[in-house]
C-alpha cells in the first residue's frame, strides 16, 4: 500500500440559492482512484474548477469523501481517531502565501506546527532550524513575513510543514500567485526536499513547466482523472491537453508543429536540448 491511496473517491456538495433551498448537487470529485508511493513526486494538473484542489483537500482530512475512501499511511481519513496523525503525516501548503503564515516572525511561524503537536521546546528549535535550512530561509529566521517576497513566503510555509516531520507534502497551487522567479524558487525547494529527504510530494498546479521533473503526472478534468502517466507521455498528447484547457511548453509545441509539418521527431520533447538533439544538428 502506498503512502496515499484513494478508492472510488467521490465528493459532492449541495448548491443552495439565497433562501437556502437546494438548487442542485455538484460533483467536484468523481470516482478518483489514487495510489501514491512513498518518495514519489506526483503532479496533479487541471484547469481552474477541474476538481484538483478539492481532491488535494481530501489528502489531509480537511474535506471528507461523500463516497469512497482515502487512506493516508494506511489510515482511513474518516476515522476521527487518526485525524491529527493524518494531518501530521500529510502536510499541506496552500495557494495564498499571506493567508497561511500565522507567526509574526519567520521562526515562530515555522514553530507553530510542532507547538500544536506538543513537541518539547528544545526539539522545536532543532526542527525549526533544520526546516528553515532545508528551504534555504535560515538567514531570514528573525524577519517579519510581511517583508519577504512571495517566493520566500511560500518557502517559509513549506518549512512550517516540514517542521512537523511529515512523510508527504501536498502543495495546492503554491506558485499560482508568484512571479517567475518566485515560482522557480519554490519548485527548486520542493524538488530538493523530494530528493534529499525522500519526502513524497503531491504538487497541484496549472503550470506545465513545473511538472517536467515529476515521476508521474495526473490530469484532472470535471472531477475525474482524464490522463495519467509520465510527463513525457502526457506531453506527447498535445491536442488532448489543449482540449483540457492546458498549456504545453513552447518547445514541446514547436516540436509538435514541426512533426506535423513532416520533420521526423519523437513525441513528447520536453527541453531545448532534446529538440536540438532530435534535429541532429
Amino acid at each position: 500500500m502506498g503512502i496515499i491511496e484513494a478508492k472510488k473517491l467521490i465528493f459532492e456538495y449541495i448548491r443552495r440559492d439565497e433562501e437556502g433551498n437546494v438548487e442542485g448537487i455538484t460533483r467536484a470529485v468523481d470516482e478518483v482512484d489514487l495510489d501514491i508511493k512513498q518518495g514519489d513526486f506526483v503532479a496533479v494538473l487541471g484547469h481552474n474548477g477541474s476538481g484538483k484542489s478539492t481532491l488535494a483537500k481530501h489528502l489531509n482530512a480537511i474535506l471528507y469523501p461523500t463516497e469512497g475512501t482515502v487512506w493516508v499511511d494506511g489510515k482511513d481519513t474518516m476515522d476521527e481517531e487518526y485525524l491529527w496523525d493524518i494531518r501530521q503525516t500529510a502536510g499541506m501548503v496552500f495557494q495564498n502565501p499571506d493567508n497561511q503564515i500565522i507567526g509574526q516572525v519567520v521562526e515562530e511561524d515555522v514553530g507553530f506546527g510542532p507547538e500544536n503537536m506538543g513537541v518539547p521546546t528544545k526539539e522545536i528549535w532543532e526542527r525549526v532550524e533544520e526546516s528553515l535550512k532545508a528551504v534555504g530561509m535560515y538567514k531570514y529566521r528573525k524577519h517579519s513575513p510581511n517583508k519577504l517576497s512571495g517566493g520566500q513566503k511560500q518557502r517559509v510555509s513549506i518549512a512550517g510543514v516540514i517542521a512537523m516531520h511529515p512523510k508527504c507534502i501536498i502543495l495546492d497551487e503554491p506558485t499560482a500567485m508568484l512571479d517567475p522567479n518566485g515560482r522557480k524558487e519554490v519548485i527548486r525547494a520542493v524538488r530538493a526536499l523530494n530528493h534529499a529527504e525522500g519526502i513524497t510530494v503531491v504538487l497541484i498546479t496549472h503550470y506545465m513547466e513545473e511538472i517536467i521533473h515529476a515521476d508521474k503526472a495526473i490530469v484532472m478534468d470535471k472531477g475525474h482523472i482524464a490522463m495519467q502517466g509520465t510527463p513525457r507521455e502526457i506531453f506527447s498528447k498535445v491536442e488532448k491537453l489543449k482540449e483540457l484547457r492546458l498549456d504545453v511548453p513552447q518547445v514541446t509545441l514547436l516540436a509538435y508543429e514541426l512533426k506535423k509539418s513532416g520533420v521526423n521527431l519523437p513525441d513528447g520533447i520536453l527541453t531545448c536540448e532534446e529538440l536540438i538533439e532530435a534535429l541532429r544538428l
Partner: protein
C-alpha cells in the same frame, strides 16, 4: 509604504530592558502608572523622573521615539492643561477677560501635564522594547489564572497575535481597494457626511469580503497544521523567569516604596512638624 508600519512600534536593540520577561515589563508599567497617581509632591515627581530617565537610558531607545508617541496626545494634553488652569478655584494670579488663572490651577495643570507625559513615555518604553507577540505571550501568561473563571485566555491571546499579523496586510489592502475605486471615479473626500459614509461602501464591502476570505484560508491552514486550541500545546519560546527578571521586580518594588514614602508620607510628616 503601509507594509512597513509596525504595530506597537517595536524598536530593535539589545538591552537589559529588551531582554526582560514581558510579564515583568507589563507589571512594571502598571505599577509605574499607579505610582504616578500616588505621588503628589515635588520630590515624588523627581523620583519618578529620575527612574524613568534611567530606564530610557538603559533601554537604548533614542528619546525621539518616545516623543513620537507624545504627538498623538498633544491635543488631550492641551485640553487637560487649559481646563485645569482656568477652572480651578483658588488664589488668583492673573485674570484674562473672564478667565482667572489661580495658583492651585497652575499646580494642578502642571501636575496633570507631567503625569500624562510620564505615562506616555512609560508605556511607550514598554511597547518600544517588547515585540507585540512577546507582549501577547506575557498577557496570556499573566491572565492564566482567569481560566478558572472560564475566560478563554489562550483564544484571546491567539486572536490578538493574529490581528497583529494581519493589520498591516489589511491596511495595505485598504489602500489598494481605495486606489482601484478612485481609478473608477470614486470620491472618498468631498461631500456631506452622509454622502461620505455612503461613499465608503465600495471600500468596505470588498474589504470585509477579503477579510472573511483570509480568515477562512487561515483557519484552514491552522487546522492543517494540527492546531486544536490551547491544550496539549507546547511553546517554542516559553516564558521562564531569569535572575534579571527577579531583579527587575525588586527594582520596581523599591521604586514604588520610594514613591510612597517620599511622595506621600514624607510630606505628611512635614505637615505634622
Amino acid at each position: 509604504m503601509l507594509r512597513d508600519i509596525t504595530l506597537g512600534q517595536y524598536y530593535q536593540a539589545d538591552s537589559v530592558i529588551h531582554r526582560l520577561d514581558p510579564r515583568v515589563k507589563l507589571s512594571a508599567t502598571v505599577l509605574f502608572i499607579i505610582s504616578l497617581f500616588i505621588v503628589d509632591n515635588f520630590i515624588g515627581y523627581i523620583i519618578a523622573a529620575v527612574f524613568l530617565a534611567c530606564m530610557v537610558k538603559i533601554s537604548g531607545v533614542p528619546f525621539r521615539f518616545m516623543v513620537k508617541g507624545m504627538k498623538s496626545i498633544v491635543f488631550l494634553l492641551l485640553i487637560a492643561v487649559v481646563f485645569n488652569l482656568f477652572l480651578t478655584p483658588g488664589e488668583a494670579v492673573v485674570t484674562v477677560w473672564k478667565l482667572t488663572v489661580t495658583k492651585e490651577g497652575i499646580r494642578i495643570a502642571v501636575m496633570m501635564a507631567v503625569r500624562l507625559v510620564f505615562l506616555i513615555i512609560g508605556s511607550s518604553l514598554m511597547t518600544l522594547t517588547t515585540t507585540p507577540n512577546n507582549l501577547t505571550d506575557g498577557m496570556e501568561k499573566l491572565m492564566a489564572p482567569l481560566k478558572i473563571f472560564r475566560v478563554p485566555v489562550h483564544e484571546v491571546a491567539m486572536m490578538m497575535s493574529i490581528a497583529l499579523r494581519f493589520i498591516p496586510i489589511l491596511l495595505e489592502e485598504t489602500d489598494k481597494i481605495m486606489k482601484a475605486q478612485i481609478a473608477r471615479g470614486a470620491d472618498f473626500e468631498s461631500g456631506s457626511l452622509i454622502k461620505k459614509a455612503k461613499g465608503m461602501i465600495p471600500l468596505l464591502v470588498p474589504l470585509f469580503i477579503s477579510a472573511f476570505r483570509r480568515a477562512n484560508d487561515l483557519a484552514m491552514a491552522m487546522e492543517a497544521r494540527c492546531y486544536r486550541g490551547g491544550e496539549h500545546r507546547t511553546k517554542m519560546k516559553p516564558l521562564v523567569y531569569q535572575k534579571r527578571d527577579r531583579l527587575g521586580y525588586l527594582v520596581m518594588f523599591i521604586y514604588l516604596a520610594a514613591c510612597i514614602y517620599f511622595g506621600r508620607i514624607f510630606r505628611i510628616q512635614e505637615f505634622i512638624r
